[in-house]
Symmetry: C2
Subunit: 375 residues, 2 copies
């Protein structure tokens, strides 16, 4: 773990703010990681992603192994050079997406054999192949290979899956080896069962990781159930290591997770929503497709510094989305990423100042007021 | 025409370089105008379009009148503010696209009644409505309303269409009136018939315009036939006014047109091609979809200053296009517009230096060598 480290700077209640140091730069926590699925944060240039305040991106092992292929990325100098993003990259293990996207999956103790959803080619993802692929990509933060069951599922299935994931976590640790400057994170599973979460955390701590993720949430259980787990699960993980909540979430999910002690998150929501006309603002979500915006000369959010809000009217954004123009996806993606990063910056500042409760109250009050009335 | 003017700075053979002055800024000629069909140069932010060296954009009356509607654009402050481009905009008259895109067209002396290809709504485009729509959009350079027949067509049809277009040109002039700082361009028609081109030019000169376009080319006649017309048609138009060749073209079309005395051009080719993986380079067209690029670490064009060439490999661009990623369209559109603007800058400099023949020889030699060999 040389060259990689985590420093807590301040706490407020269970919430934490700090810095993850990596050879490729610092990650301010709590951090939101934009998702660059196939080697690109969709509809964004890397410089623009950085301009929103992102310190780290997430890349998807499943997508990249299938196209363009991890060996090819390695020959081309690694994922950072390939996608022109020199700051840190976290890669997932492929475990989640192989179960949701691949065809003809066959799960065994060894791993998952599957067919590519792109061309039908046969592949194996296992702790060992996932570590090798993430090494070839040049990932800074590598995720252990796990299985993530969909919820609801019965307790026996959740437990069996968690036990398998813990055996895979140990194999991931062995296969990862010693890679100075690169970190390996373990992933807690256990569904909504406190004792399984505790057993999973204990297993991970026994193996020892550079950071710990909470997996198996945001898979259909609902916010209340997720917060229920987050009320206790972060506390089961080492305090001196980053805690990463995978695949979360909506802005209020993010705030609720940070309040409960989460340091890192990722989600496709700001980018995916940007391509379908949904914008996130201080006043809540705004659907730019709606005809109410067709004649509105005002910006989407008058307080936002992004190009969509500085240069354009809601009427124009509405027009772009209705006309299916790529610029609509570009501008709304940028705005949404800016909103998410500004939210993270606000959370970090509030925690550092010991004023998180005030910040959350303001966040909720602004949303409760709803969007501005039509002109 | 107050506030609008054209100054010739130098000539080389029939080729010309100069400046069109407008209240919204200078247009260096020969000029290539990127096409912003529906209020956006597809996949580009306006600042990026400007960064490639574009002095003026083209907007499409037909598209904008149907969506979002000219009255709406006017209420929102005009097309410049709507699309966040404060420099000059030329709008076409709608005449070309109503014949190629609209449904249920009915052509009469009055104009063209048609149904929107978007929602079936009924509209009339005529010299008077086209002038009004272009006024509402706030266009800096307004095009007279004309009919553009597809080629090949028989001489009688070409002549009848040209005569109609000349009557419409006179009505366009009357309807345009006196609008200081805004220019009205007439459009020469006449197909491939020298005497009809001459009659059209005479009719336009008698009416009097701020600039003169050559229409009815690049509609299927082939480059040799087009150059055949360009060998004489520009000389029929006033020397002291800009000459605009509509809808042209490929890089070699552009060079051939400039050599023959054309000052302005527009074409969807660099933007449309950018969305399908075709790039224009000094060495000719390159199809990034081709598997030969899959492992190529070199830039598309090592001499190009655009972000696609400065930041990325051919392998990455290939990956983006294969994966259908929006960033592929963004980067290749940027590159293509940069290539076109650099070509125009090269032509302007060569004309000013009296070295156009050398420039053209170099242009052709570089293309004759073809693309770089695979690594």
């Amino acid at each position: 773990m040389k060259g990689f480290g985590f420093r807590l700077a301040a706490t407020d209640g269970r919430a934490r703010t700090g810095i993850i140091d990596t050879p490729r730069g610092r990650i301010r926590t709590p951090a939101f990681m934009p998702v660059g699925t196939a080697g690109t944060v969709k509809a964004m240039l890397p410089d623009s992603v950085r301009a929103t305040g992102a310190d780290i991106l997430l890349g998807n092992t499943y997508h990249l192994m299938l196209r363009p292929g991890a060996e090819r990325v390695a020959r081309l100098g690694g994922l950072h050079r390939f996608m022109n993003w020199e700051r840190p990259i976290l890669t997932d293990s492929g475990g989640f997406q192989v179960m949701s996207l691949a065809a003809l999956r066959k799960l065994s103790e060894q791993g998952v054999r599957f067919s590519s959803h792109i061309d039908g080619s046969r592949h194996l993802l296992s702790p060992e192949t996932s570590m090798e692929i993430q090494r070839l990509l040049g990932s800074d933060i590598v995720m252990a290979f796990d299985e993530c069951p969909a919820l609801p599922a019965d307790r026996a299935a959740i437990e069996a899956s968690m036990r398998l994931s813990m055996r895979w976590a140990a194999r991931s640790r062995d296969a990862f080896g010693d890679r100075p400057g690169h970190a390996l994170f373990g992933i807690q599973q256990g569904g909504l069962e406190p004792d399984l979460r505790a057993a999973s955390a204990e297993a991970l701590r026994a193996i020892g990781f550079d950071g710990y993720a909470i997996g198996g949430l945001a898979v259909g259980e609902g916010q209340a159930a997720m917060f229920g787990v987050l009320d206790y699960a972060p506390g089961m993980l080492p305090e001196d290591r980053p805690r990463y909540l995978m695949g979360v979430g909506k802005p209020d999910d993010i705030v609720g997770a940070v309040v409960r002690g989460i340091d890192m998150m990722d989600c496709v929501l700001p980018t995916r929503s940007g391509r379908t006309g949904q914008a996130f603002t201080r006043r809540g979500a705004v659907n730019l497709k709606n005809a109410r915006h067709a004649d509105d000369p005002r910006p989407l959010d008058e307080g936002c510094p992004c190009p969509a809000c500085r240069g354009y009217s809601r009427a124009y954004l509405h027009h772009l989305i209705r006309a299916g123009e790529i610029l609509g996806a570009m501008l709304l993606t940028w705005h949404n990423l800016q909103y998410y990063q500004d939210l993270m910056a606000g959370l970090r500042g509030a925690i550092a100042a010991g004023r998180l409760a005030d910040f959350v109250a303001g966040f909720e009050a602004a949303r409760a007021g709803g969007d501005i009335a039509p002109p």
